[in-house]
Structure formats: C-alpha cells, structure tokens
C-alpha cells in the first residue's frame, strides 16, 4: 500500500494520469507490469478512482458495476463488490441520485469490480463521512492483503499514517521523501511521536521557508 502525498498542485493527479497512460510524460517512459502503462490498462491489470472521473446519469449502481465486470477478464462477483463498497441496498438506485459519499463508494465499486492487480485511488475518501471512511479503509486493507497493490493520494495524512506501508511525498513535481511513515518522520527531522502532518509540513514548505528541518531532509535525499 502506497500513499502519494503532497500539497495542492504538487503533481499527484498528474503523476497518476501518467502512471495510467492517460497523459504522456514530457520525458521518460512508464511501465506497469513490464509493459507500457496503457497496455496494462487495456489488459485489465489496473482499476482507478480518478478525481475528475464520474458517472453518467440514467444508469443504476448495478448497471455501472455490471458494466465494469463485463469489461475486465476476471471480475469479482457483483454481490461481493457491492458489499465491499458498502452499497448494499443501493444497487437499483440511479447514480445521479446518490449523495457525494455514496457516489464515491459507487466509484470505488467500479474501480474494484475487475479485481485489478493495481488499484489507484485519487483522494478516494473526499465526501465520505467518518463511518464510511473507516469502512472504506478496512475494505482497502483487506484488498491489499489479498495480494493487490493499492496506491492512493490523500490530504488526510492520518489515513496515510494508518494504512500505508510506503509514503511518497511530492512537492512541485519532485519527490522529496519516499519510505515507510516512520522513515518520513526521520527524514523530516520530527520526533517519532509527532504527527505525519508535522513531517509533511517540514518536508513540503521547506524550499520556500528554508527551515533547518528541510535542509536535513534535502541533504538526506
């Protein structure tokens, strides 16, 4: 489980777009599962919840889940998808009549349906209430434990702290830290008991403010 962190405009969404073959990199190449990213997506190896993606009106939750299942070679079964995403009882609801949190769960169901080896989630918990978030992360943990890779971006750093094995911090399009949460704290020069927020601020505001913590991070990087 990898968390992609960074302030607004750091390039998280752009990184994800390039990673999935949606945008072309200015330089270099991206490979997913030993092949070009777009090919891996065509082969059904990846599923994603993207920030600027959404559903069309007129379709029900079951319609979109069934569509996603039909598009992937080895889908999960519908009932387990609905249960994992917390959509029981909403299957026949039209997607344009869902609340923000429910829409987010439906998008999770769509991304999950094909049982992809790589699940990419761009700020997945936006709009979810506390209970829905907890349930969501429990489902994600189970999915990752089942031999899948999950990469997510978030502004809720405690989420990254709780679930990620590896944290990548981006600032202005560059990686400023990469490692397990504990290492990120060390890199930022904050104590082990400090919140990840403190480490994050030390790492990402550094180049502008020029604080001592940042220099440590930069020399170590």
């Amino acid at each position: 489980m990898v968390a992609l962190l960074g302030p607004n405009g750091a390039g998280k969404t752009t990184t994800i777009s390039i990673m999935l073959g949606l945008a072309a990199p200015d330089a270099g190449t991206v490979t997913l599962f030993d092949r070009p990213a777009a090919d891996a997506v065509r082969a059904g190896r990846a599923g994603a919840m993207l920030q600027d993606a959404g559903f069309v009106p007129g379709a029900t939750v079951r319609d979109v889940v069934d569509l996603a299942r039909a598009l992937y070679p080895h889908p999960l079964d519908t009932e387990s998808i609905l249960a994992t995403a917390g959509l029981e009882g909403l299957a026949s609801r039209r997607v344009d009549r869902l609340s923000a949190g429910e829409t987010q769960r439906a998008r999770f169901a769509f991304a999950l349906a094909g049982d992809p080896d790589l699940l990419v989630l761009d700020e997945p918990t936006t709009g979810m209430d506390v209970a829905a978030r907890q349930r969501f992360w429990t489902a994600i943990r189970a999915y990752a434990a089942d031999d899948h890779t999950v990469l997510f971006s978030t502004h809720q750093l405690h989420e990254a702290d709780d679930v990620a094995d590896r944290v990548v911090v981006l600032t202005a399009g560059r990686i400023v830290a990469d490692g397990p949460p504990a290492e990120i704290r060390a890199l930022a020069g904050v104590g082990t008991s400090a919140s990840l927020d403190a480490a994050f601020l030390a790492l990402t505001t550094g180049p502008v403010a020029g604080g001592p913590a940042t220099r440590t991070a930069e020399t170590e990087h």
């Binding site: 997506v41 059904g44 993606a53 069309v56 007129g58 069934d66 569509l67 039909a70 992937y72």
Partner: protein, 242 residues
C-alpha cells in the same frame, strides 16, 4: 463492447427527452398538420405519405443529434475519463455512441408510420415498410457523425444550443417540417443541397418504389465525409487535451 452497448441502450430507454423529441413531437406534429396538405402531391407521393416520411426523418434526426451531442455532458461528467482506465478501447466507445444514436431513428419511423396509417389510412406493402425503416435508419449516419462532432468538440454549455440550432436549421430548411415543394425557388435549391432533404428523399423514393437517386446519394456522401472529418478532428482534440 456488447456490454457497453447494453449499458447505453438501457440508459437510452430511461431517457424521457428522447421519447419527447423523437416520438411525441413528430407524432403530434403529424396529427395536427398533415391534414392541411392532404389533397396535394409532394415529392411524387400523396401528401400524407410524404409528410409522414418528412416528420419521421425529423424525429430521427432529433434523436440522433441528441445522443451525439450528449457526449459533451458525458465528457464533462468525467465518464469518458472513467472508461479510459478500463480495458474498453476508446474507439469502441465512439462506435457504440454512433450506433446508439442511429438506433434512435427507428422509434419515430414506426410511431409516425402508425399515426399515418390510422389517421390517413396510409397503406404500404410490408416490404415497403421494411425498406423504409432500413433506409431511414442507415441514412442517419451523417447526423450521427455531426452529433459526435458537436459532442466531442464543444463544451456542454455550447453543445446544447449549437445542437439545437443545427437541428432546427437542417430540419426546417431541409423540408422535413414543411415540405420543400412549398418553398420559394432559392430556398428550394438550398433544401436540395442539405443532408436532411436528401435523407428524407431516400424514404420518399423508396415509398414511391424508386431506388435512391444518384444525385441524392452524392449529396449525402459529401456531407457524411464532411461530418466524419469534423468528428475525427473533434475526437482527436478532446483526447489530446486530457
């Protein structure tokens, strides 16, 4: 691709706008106005038959353009972006859209046909009805392409009025609503150059037992090429920007 086609058909069936514009609109227009010219001969046919085909074409073009330009909203909603992170090839999305659009041509042909046979006892042989339906379906290709050009090329705020204007201009000037026979000379010449007139002409000629006119096919082919080029350009542009 079949799954996506099914998905889109289900959505189409739930869309009340389609029913309104491509079925209720033309049928109501037929019932109200077809009596006015009932004694005339238009396009080589008894007026009730000619008006029936014109209005069926009107409903068909309305539906086809509507589906194509709705792509604009779907792009804005992020749906096409969502599909791009699945194994579904983008080309198949376009193909399904075009197919779904052209399918909307069928309900107005059937319903206006029923209205005509009930109101004016229009009678055609079963083979003629089938040929008419087939031609009115196949003839929507240029309009499906125009719809996709609008849908992929323009933002929703602009696509809706552009679609409406294109539809109104093409259907009125093409003689689908009021027969071109009643137009003054210059307008009639303009009508003959429009794809809508030539599209309805496929139906008029088939109902009269004639094969499609070469001049008509040439005009339709030229518009088809033009709209195909516009749709391709708009589609390319929409994927590059992402």
């Amino acid at each position: 691709m079949r799954a996506y086609l099914r998905f889109e058909l289900r959505r189409l069936a739930r869309d009340p706008r389609l029913m309104f514009f491509s079925v209720i609109g033309p049928v109501a227009t037929y019932l109200i106005f077809s009596g006015w010219s009932a004694g005339d001969r238009l396009e080589g046919l008894a007026a009730p038959v000619a008006v029936m085909i014109g209005l069926a074409g009107y409903g068909a073009v309305a539906g086809v353009l509507m589906v194509g330009s709705a792509v604009s909203q779907e792009r804005a909603a992020g749906w096409l972006h969502q599909l791009r992170v699945t194994p579904l090839p983008p080309g198949q999305v376009v193909a399904v859209k075009a197919l779904i659009g052209s399918i909307t041509a069928i309900p107005p042909v059937i319903t206006v046909g029923i209205a005509a046979s009930v109101q004016h006892h229009v009678e055609l042989s079963a083979g003629r009805w089938c040929a008419l339906l087939l031609l009115m379906w196949a003839g929507t290709v240029p309009f499906a392409l125009l719809g996709l050009a609008i849908g992929y090329g323009l933002s929703p705020q602009i696509a809706v009025p552009v679609n409406f204007l294109a539809f109104l201009a093409l259907s009125v000037l093409g003689g689908l609503l009021a027969p071109a026979t009643y137009f003054p000379g210059a307008l009639r010449h303009l009508a003959h150059a429009l794809p809508t007139y030539r599209y309805a002409e496929l139906g008029w000629r088939s109902a009269a037992g004639h094969p499609p006119a070469p001049a008509g096919l040439a005009v339709l082919a030229a518009w088809t090429l033009l709209f195909a080029a516009a749709a391709t350009w708009a589609y390319r542009r929409s994927t590059v920007r992402r």
